[in-house]
Symmetry: C2
Subunit: 351 residues, 2 copies
């Protein structure tokens, strides 16, 4: 093997520090610091000397030391309920933006627990992150407010945080749901039920609202089942329908997991889609088009969503570094949805 990289003239075995670099470059430590931080008051020749010295001794700035002086780490927090398909797409998009800015990303999945979210938020406070992207699990807005007040930009993703005045990047849940349900109504359905996995979640609440709006506008009676949290409960619900006469002729599934559970349950109970029952789901997924019956969905774009959010965040981070006085006026960005027609709604499958 080749010789180990020399640790410079300093103590052997230890990471080189700016002092080692300063010695090597025959300049003061402050000059080195200025080079590292891209101050423009360094003569190009000096800068070059320092740069070369940095490379020669293999110096890497010590984040801990900078943070001690009040600087924040080049790291953003990313808090989500879980890393299911949708949120992991969000993560990839956000991380991509972070990497472009040379930031790392610290991920926390709360497991959909507000308590865990709160606990982790407290932990995050100690890590001197530069900013936070959060899909809330219903945690405490106060904690976030404190973070904000202590100078950490926060952007809400997918859902607003109650009691927090922050940038938010959301989806047209209500309108999207309305459009999906309206499509079922246009197919002639009169009895349309709505199933959801967790009616407490903002996005689901909104979609259910959209569903109700569409139903009422058509003079139809909403039938909401907002908390079907397992395949078993879904089977129970669907089974009840298949046995009685008052089976709805169509169903709107308010989130991805509901669509999946619904399809699984329908499959097990032996109801055919769309002949026995038509289905439209909210949120698209990879396999939606190779299911027994390809699923019609209201689709959203997790990557654009998260990319916007991350860009908003870094805009704030950069501003915060310059002028700390100005009041930030929270931005709200709302992304539209798109109805993707496949077979489950009753449309004939087309090429």
């Amino acid at each position: 093997m080749a010789t180990m990289k020399s640790a410079g003239a300093g103590r052997p075995g230890r990471q080189p520090t700016i002092i080692d670099v300063a010695r090597e470059a025959h300049v003061g430590v402050m000059t080195v610091s200025r080079v590292i931080n891209n101050y423009d008051t360094v003569k190009p020749v000096t800068r070059a000397k320092v740069m070369s010295a940095i490379a020669r001794v293999g110096y890497r700035p010590n984040d801990a030391a900078r943070m001690l002086k009040g600087m924040r780490a080049r790291m953003i927090g990313f808090i989500v309920p879980d890393l299911s398909d949708f949120f992991s797409s969000c993560f990839h998009a956000a991380q991509k933006v972070a990497m472009q800015h040379d930031y790392q990303t610290m991920v926390v999945a709360t497991g959909r627990s507000a308590a865990v979210e709160n606990r982790q938020l407290d932990s995050l406070g100690n890590h001197r992150i530069s900013g936070l992207l959060i899909v809330t699990s219903g945690g405490d807005g106060q904690r976030l407010k404190h973070l904000q007040e202590s100078g950490i930009p926060v952007v809400a993703l997918d859902r607003p945080v109650a009691g927090l005045d922050a940038d938010a990047v959301l989806v047209e849940n209500r309108e999207g749901a309305e459009q999906g349900v309206r499509h079922l109504i246009e197919h002639g359905h009169k009895s349309i039920a709505c199933v959801g996995f967790d009616g407490d979640v903002f996005t689901v609440r909104e979609r259910i609202e959209g569903y109700k709006q569409a139903m009422r506008a058509a003079g139809l009676e909403p039938q909401v089942f907002a908390d079907i949290q397992s395949l078993e409960r879904m089977e129970e619900l669907v089974g009840r329908w298949s046995n009685t006469k008052k089976k709805p002729s169509a169903i709107f599934a308010a989130q991805r997991i509901s669509s999946i559970r619904l399809i699984q349950a329908l499959h097990r109970v032996g109801l055919r889609v769309p002949q026995d029952i038509a289905v439209v789901g909210f949120d698209d997924f990879e396999l939606a088009d190779v299911l027994g019956t390809p699923l019609t969905v209201v689709s959203q774009s997790p990557t654009s969503l998260a990319q916007s959010a991350a860009e908003l965040l870094f805009k704030q981070i950069e501003q915060a570094q310059q002028e700390s006085g100005t009041e930030h006026h929270p931005a709200k960005i709302i992304f539209p949805t798109r109805l993707i027609l496949r077979a489950s709604c009753g449309c004939s499958p087309k090429a």
Copy 2:
């Protein structure tokens, strides 16, 4: 609103420090430090006084300052190619273990790029993490070796890292694939092809090896298509089969994404499973049982895998804190797979 939490007797507006706590508790700073770090040389009464003072002033230790003194952050790194279904399950399991130890998790998705992996590995070096869990994207073993040598425990997950002697938690890829292929052979198939998304990846290579072994053991000719990286290429491949007479009668898909692409392609080209062509895939997924034809798979358990890996990691972290001299003897844990029979292999769907 209630009164803001007082910042103690120190400078108002700033986070309280151990000095504030010491003053409040009428003890020296060192005593406070000892309490925080659970030294057992503190009289219970003193400890109580300090604890109460800590609570009163709302003190939270400053990680940056501790790290300056050479301690590592209560944070582990988690590097993966992406956060697809499989790896996000891994993440959840690993984070759960980390949280139990009161550690945070820093996630990096490399996008399957060895270059990104290397770059991020360098970044990680500055963050003084306590340990690293890595599913390599083919990055440089040397960098990891340096991390290890600088005292950061590393555990390889799902794939070993070339040129690195570290704990590893793997899956019986070869045996699992063999079993899956053997099952197809038992169904009477003679012409069985194997498709993969990326033949360079360790796990896929191993599974292909298992496939070949099973084929050769039965005196059959292996037909490997190891780099079908898109739906288009898969459709092309499948289309070619449907037009000629030398169509294989069964296919073994070496990874999840291959199974999915294969099924999509088969669906588009109009080949029925298992009548026209039987399929067995490696790695189970949520919707495998509600596809047009429920998919038979060789399943692995991402959560047990990642949990073991995380536990191994924390075992090392704890050891490293105590005795730094002892040589670590790398552990290898290999998890078995399980063949889940559904309909795509030709078995009749059963209740």
